[in-house]
Amino acid sequence: MGKIQIVPLLEVVRESHHTNTYRFRADFGGAPGQFVMVWIPRQDELPMALSYLGPVKGITVHAYGDATKALMDFQPGDRIGVRGPYGNTFRLEGEKVLAVAGGTGMASIIAAIEAFAQQGAAVATAVGARTAAELLFVDRASASGEVHVATDDGSRGFSGFVPALAEKLLDKHTFDQVITCGPERMMKMVYDSAAKRGLKTQVSLERYMKCGIGICDACVLDDRLVCVDGPVFSGEQLAASEDFGAWRRDKSGRRVPI
C-alpha cells in the first residue's frame, strides 16, 4: 500500500503566473502517466500527475482552487505529504507518436513524451495554452522531437485550440499512436480525430478523487475507476464509454455534465 510520506520541497519553479512546479524526493518509483496524492497540510489532498520522474520527482500545479492557491506560497523546505505512485502508465507503443496537450495537461504527458523519445520513437508534440506565457515544458518537449504550438489568443504559433492544430498535423503527417491530456472536451475532440483515422489513442483522464486507491468510487468512468484502471485509457476502452467527454461525478457521487 502507498503509505503517506511527509517530504520537504527541494525547489519551487514558477512556470507561469498561475502554475508552479514543486520538486521533492520520495521513497517510491513512478512511470509516465502515473499520479500521486498530494496533501497540502490544512488544505486538501489532491491527485497530481508526476511531471518529473526519477529520484527528484515533480508535480506541476495550476492554482485554480483554495488548496492549490495556498500551495503557490510554499517555499523550498516547506513540507507536503505524498503517497503513491498510483494508476497505470502510458504504454510506450508506436514508432510515430503525436502527443497533444492542453494547458496543465502537459504536466501529465511530458514524462511520456520523453520516454517515447528515449526508446527511439519519433514524437511530435502539439501543445496548447490560452496565451504564450502559459505554455508548459516547450523546451523539454523540443528536446524529444518537434513541437507545434497553439495559443487561443494567437500570441504564439497556431491561433486557435490545440485539437484543430492536431487535426492539421494528422492530415499532413503519418502517425501510428496519439496520446493526449488536457481538458476533457479537448481530449474528446482529439480522440475523435484519431478514431476517424483508425489511429490508436491513449487518453489520460482526470476526475475528483477522495482515496486514489480504488475504494471511494468518486472517480468512476462508466464502471471503471480513473485511479486504478486509469488514468490512461485506450481508444478501444473509450469507444463504448457513455461518460467520456460527457459525464463525471461530483463530490456527493451525483452524475453531472463535464
Binding site: M1, G81, S252
Partner: protein, 308 residues
C-alpha cells in the same frame, strides 16, 4: 465421510436472502455507483452492500479522507452520497445486471431512517442495512450507536416502514456490543452486521497534526479482525438472528474465523485495496478448500462451531 474435492457448498442464506457464497461487498467500498456495484458482483461477491445513503446529497469531508497503514486503512470519508432520490438510478443499474443488492441507509432521526429505508426498499433491494455506527460523521451515527434505546427506536421505525429484512450494523466503540445486538433483535431486526470501523487517529509527526481532515477516523482491515471476531462470537451467544461478520476479512481463513464465531456471511472491504476485485474469488476458493480439509460439506455446517 469427506466430500470429494470441489463439492463444498458455499451457498448460504441470511434472513431469507439467498447468497451464492457467503461474501458480501462491505459498505463504503466501490458502491456509490450502479456500474461499480455490478462489477463487484460479477467479480464474485455473494451480495453487494451500497454506500450509506441519506435523504439528501452530501459531499462528505474534505481530503485527506484516508490513511493507508501497515495492517489496515483509516478513513473519514464523511458519508458522501448522492441522496436517495438520485441513488435509485444506481440501484436499478445493479439490479438490471442481476446483482443481489443490500441498501445501506442513514438518517438523523427515526423518521428519516424510515423514509430513506422505505425509498431504498422500493428500489428493489433484497435487504436494508442500517448504518447506526459510522464513527466519524458529526451528529450522524456515533450518538446513535452508543445508545441502546436509539438502536431499538431506529430499528423499529425502519422495520415498520419496509417489508424486506433489516440488518443494523453495530459499532465496536461500545463496552458491550452484544447488548446492542439484543436491543436490535428485540426491536425486530432480522440480522446483525458487526463490526463497523474502530475509532482511531493517525498523526504526522513532521507536521505535528492529525492527517485526516476530520482528525478522527475509522480503522478497518486486518488490524481490527480479532476485535470483529470477538464481537461476532459474543453476539452469537446472545441472539437468535443471523450475524454478518465484517472487519479484516482478507482470506478464506479470515472469513472462516467469522463463520466459526457464528456469522452466516462476511463482508469484504479493505482487502480490495491490496487484492483488487479478485479478493472475492480468492476468499471463496480458500474457504472451500479449508472447509473440505477440516471435514465440512457446506459453509452452513461450520457456522458457530467455535462455540463447541
Amino acid at each position: 465421510m469427506r466430500p470429494p474435492s470441489g463439492m463444498v457448498d458455499l451457498g448460504t442464506e441470511v434472513a431469507g436472502v439467498r447468497l451464492r457464497n457467503p461474501t458480501m461487498l462491505a459498505s463504503g467500498f466501490l458502491d456509490e455507483t450502479g456500474g461499480s456495484l455490478l462489477r463487484v458482483y460479477r467479480a464474485g461477491a455473494g451480495a453487494v452492500v451500497t454506500k450509506s445513503i441519506g435523504p439528501e446529497p452530501r459531499e462528505g469531508y474534505p481530503n485527506p479522507t484516508i490513511v493507508e497503514l501497515d495492517a489496515g486503512l483509516l478513513n473519514a470519508v464523511g458519508l458522501p452520497n448522492p441522496g436517495i432520490a438520485e441513488f435509485e438510478r444506481e440501484v436499478r443499474v445493479a439490479l438490471n445486471g442481476k446483482a443481489v443488492v443490500i441498501g445501506s441507509v442513514y438518517g438523523k432521526d427515526a423518521a428519516e431512517y424510515a423514509s430513506v429505508a422505505a425509498k431504498m426498499a422500493q428500489s428493489g433491494v433484497a435487504a436494508i442495512e442500517l448504518n447506526l455506527s459510522c464513527p466519524h460523521a458529526k451528529g450522524l451515527g456515533t450518538e446513535i450507536a452508543q445508545s441502546e434505546e436509539a438502536v431499538r427506536e431506529f430499528t423499529k421505525a425502519v422495520k415498520d416502514a419496509v417489508d424486506v429484512p433489516v440488518f443494523p450494523k453495530l459499532s465496536p466503540n461500545v463496552s458491550d456490543i452484544a447488548s446492542f445486538a439484543v436491543a436490535a433483535e428485540r426491536a425486530g431486526a432480522d440480522g446483525i452486521v458487526a463490526i463497523n470501523t474502530v475509532k482511531a487517529m493517525a498523526i504526522a509527526p513532521d507536521l505535528k497534526m492529525p492527517i485526516l481532515a476530520n482528525r478522527y477516523g475509522g480503522l478497518s482491515g486486518p488490524a481490527i479482525r480479532p476485535i470483529g471476531v470477538r464481537a461476532v462470537y459474543d453476539i452469537y451467544e446472545k441472539v437468535g438472528i443471523p450475524v454478518i461478520g465484517v472487519g479484516g476479512v482478507d482470506s478464506g481463513r479470515a472469513a472462516l474465523e467469522y463463520i466459526m464465531a457464528g456469522a452466516r456471511a462476511v463482508q469484504v472491504g479493505t482487502a480490495l485495496v491490496s487484492q483488487g476485485l479478485s479478493a472475492f474469488e480468492r476468499i471463496t476458493k480458500e474457504m472451500a478448500s479449508v472447509l473440505e480439509e477440516v471435514g465440512f460439506k457446506s459453509v452452513e455446517e461450520a457456522v458457530g462451531v467455535a462455540h463447541g
